[in-house]
Symmetry: C2
Subunit: 152 residues, 2 copies
């Protein structure tokens, strides 16, 4: 379904407007799919994202600030997200000794187990996307990078 049909708008002022709307719409679209995907596992997409960042550290600890820098949405509160994951016993945290303002966060085995479980299911999701073809996906990634660059 083209963006025109999705939002029942027959024409757009110009290709720029269409791209902006299409990007927002497609972003929402994926977020909603992913949220629905995560729900049965009891975590939100944002929480999953933090878990993935921690998992990527290979057991090493990372500060809350570093998590923020790696997050998709810098505005959301990494501190509170870590809090949620801590309450679920998926991560642990301890005051950093070198800089006592900082808090080192690390993933617990339960967190790793959960993320791996979810990743298996996500692969099926990605398999669908791969229908697009490697070249098209590369092109899409490049255009997205260029798009952001054009604005900043």
């Amino acid at each position: 379904m083209s963006i025109s049909d999705e939002i029942k708008q027959s024409s757009f002022k110009n290709e720029e407007t269409k791209a902006v709307i299409n990007l927002i719409f497609t972003g929402n679209f994926i977020v909603q799919r992913q949220q629905a995907f995560m729900k049965p596992f009891g975590i939100t997409m944002q929480q999953f994202n933090v878990l993935r960042i921690l998992e990527g550290q290979k057991g090493q600890a990372i500060s809350v600030l570093s998590i923020t820098e790696r997050m998709l949405d810098k505005m959301s509160n990494a501190s509170r997200l870590v809090d949620k994951l801590f309450a679920k016993k998926l991560v642990s945290r301890i005051q950093c000794e070198k800089d006592r303002r900082a808090v080192d966060v690390y993933i617990l085995p339960a967190g790793s187990a959960l993320i791996n479980q979810i990743e298996v299911h996500l692969d099926e999701f990605r398999k669908q996307i791969s229908q697009l073809g490697e070249e098209n996906l590369k092109q899409l990634n490049e255009l997205l990078d260029q798009f952001r660059a054009s604005i900043s």
Copy 2:
């Protein structure tokens, strides 16, 4: 700045994962820019979107349900958004005579004035995007449509 640098992730599992993350990130990116853009005018992006839908009706009324169908984010509550715009005296509404469950919403002159004022400024924003070039933008739009199609 490439998506790798933006979220400080040196590599991705595969091109599909990268595209998903890039799309969410770019979507967030635009939403944040647009939100900041709207703020001085006292409305949110969602409210602006509803106003734009109403403006597109050329003065004709449209039901709350129809607004929902045309919205970028179907999950958000059109009823409450219309409420906000009503409180700002930018739109008006009246019970539909043919179907008294429905409520006809239409834009007021103040609403049209506001949206036109904002559109002028948005054009400057779009001018930046146009640096990408018409062909690239068309390709981006097509890839986005294909991307969603691959999932659904």
